[in-house]
């Protein structure tokens, strides 16, 4: 296990199956990336940096319904569809 993360757990979350060589390679690379972020986190930055990304309510959209694509267009971009719905491999985990 490299510092700060568990490569096996991350691979599982990312739905990747990795060989031992790949695990070693990616552990080292991910360690460098995380080290870089740690350096950013350690920097003493002014709190105003967040203000660049703040908008007021004028940036909100009004509650006006607009056009839709239609089921035909929606399903056309999917690899498979049936009865106006997108068809996917059976999923069991009830996520919501």
């Amino acid at each position: 296990m490299a510092e700060g993360f568990d490569i096996d757990h991350l691979a599982k979350l990312a739905r990747l199956s990795l060989t031992a060589e790949e695990k070693a390679l990616y552990s080292a690379q991910l360690g460098q990336i995380l080290g870089h972020f740690q350096a950013l986190a350690d920097a003493d930055l002014p709190a105003t940096i967040d203000d660049a990304r703040v908008v007021d309510e004028a940036a909100l959209r009004s509650d006006e319904p607009g056009p839709v694509l239609g089921a035909e267009a929606v399903t056309r971009v999917a690899p498979a569809s049936r009865d106006g719905q997108i068809s996917v491999p059976r999923v069991v985990d009830d996520e919501s």
Partner: protein, 501 residues
Amino acid sequence: MSNVPSDWEVVIGLEVHVQLRTRAKVFASSPWGFGQEPNEQVDPVVLGLPGTLPVVNREAVEKSILFGLVVGAEIPERCAWDRKNYFYPDNPKNYQLTQKDFPVVVGGQVEIELPGASRNVMGEHKFIRIHHAHLEEDVGKLSHAGSGSLVDYNRAGVPLLEIVTEPDLRSAAEAEAFLRSLVAMLTQAGVADCDMEKGQLRCDCNVSVRRRGAEKLGTRTETKNLNSISSVRDTVIYETARQIRELEAGRTITQETRGWNAELARGYVLRDKEDAHDYRYFPDPDIPTLKISRETVARLAKQVPENLYDRQRRYVEKLGLPYTAASVLVNDRALAEWFEAAVAAHPANPSGIANLVANDLLRDLAASAGAAGAFDESASAPVSLSSCPIKPAQLAGLVKLTDDGVISKQQAKEVFAEMFKTGKDAAAIVDAKGLRQNSDTGELEKIVREVIADPSVAKSIAEYRAGNEKAINALKGPIMKRTQGKANPGLIDQLLRKALG
């Protein structure tokens, strides 16, 4: 009912997902609504197609703030959105837009009322604290067919307010009372419709048990996606019993995510902690942090309706209503306002008006509407007053006629039925039917004198004078007959006693 052994205590926290009442989706302009053909309410932003950007719907933000003000929460100056990443086909973008660190609503509390010993006795009141509420997008709907699954993205992007309570609930009855109270507040403020049959309100229910007096909370389980108040109640009862059984048998509770099968009335394990998702939250780069002005908060504060239990207390304490009538009226804001308009037209007898509204009017409205689709199977469905043939002032007029002794209470029922049928004023119906009681004292006095002078009633008069109160009733019949039933019974009684000295 749940039978929790007295040495155990159950601790419950709820996460309530409510679809807000808006026309367009929360980050896209696509319309939404229940019962549409699959994938007909989808636009490129909902699908997260390349080149699209989400823009937050003002109405969704304001409805969220309004909810916060209804429960007395803090509305922080800034709120922000995050990406919750997961791989699952109910979400076309592989992440859900939600608020993790800076929610739109922080704190607040919901007053609840537990059932009383009987229908006409008010139960205990309690306050349940709200931890926070955040504004996120709903996800698509999956249906499983054979070896595959089908995806409908109509629901994806519908504005969803997730209301998270503190672990303050202590029984299935409290969880049920909380949801009823919350639904009443959300609907009365116009924040949401909360129609559970349309999936507009869904709950995740966290349950743990501990020995009474213990400070440390037990290991909790989370049962997800409960879509009715009864499912929440049943889940709490089931989980409480299961956890106590496990612990008393010397086993431990595993922190896990569970599902609920309402048909079989039992829970099942979805996944344990080992499989817990790591959602890798990070601030969404597409949606800037939103600054909420204090002017907006002040404007929305004016839209907060009177709290349902404040209204109930006012009805009982200031207007003198019995609890039974007050509790029926306050559950429906339109009905309560209708009642208040009637009281304004005839302030002398709020109880008389409440009685007619809570019993006769509700019964006839329900009968004329048929069974309405209710969010809550055991509570009375909200009735539509828009089609009510009687106006508040007209009902007040009917009560006034009764109070003035023009018609009897029995006759009032008959007049009410006619009013509901025709929409006519009470006075017009009374005149048309010739129901007006004779309250002309001079004429009545003359009849009373004539009747008591009749030798056939001498025996009754003697008995009355000898102290038999009931004997006076024998004299009322002949008087009623002479007036063709139109004399005011109270006035007859009064005049008779006066004449007999």
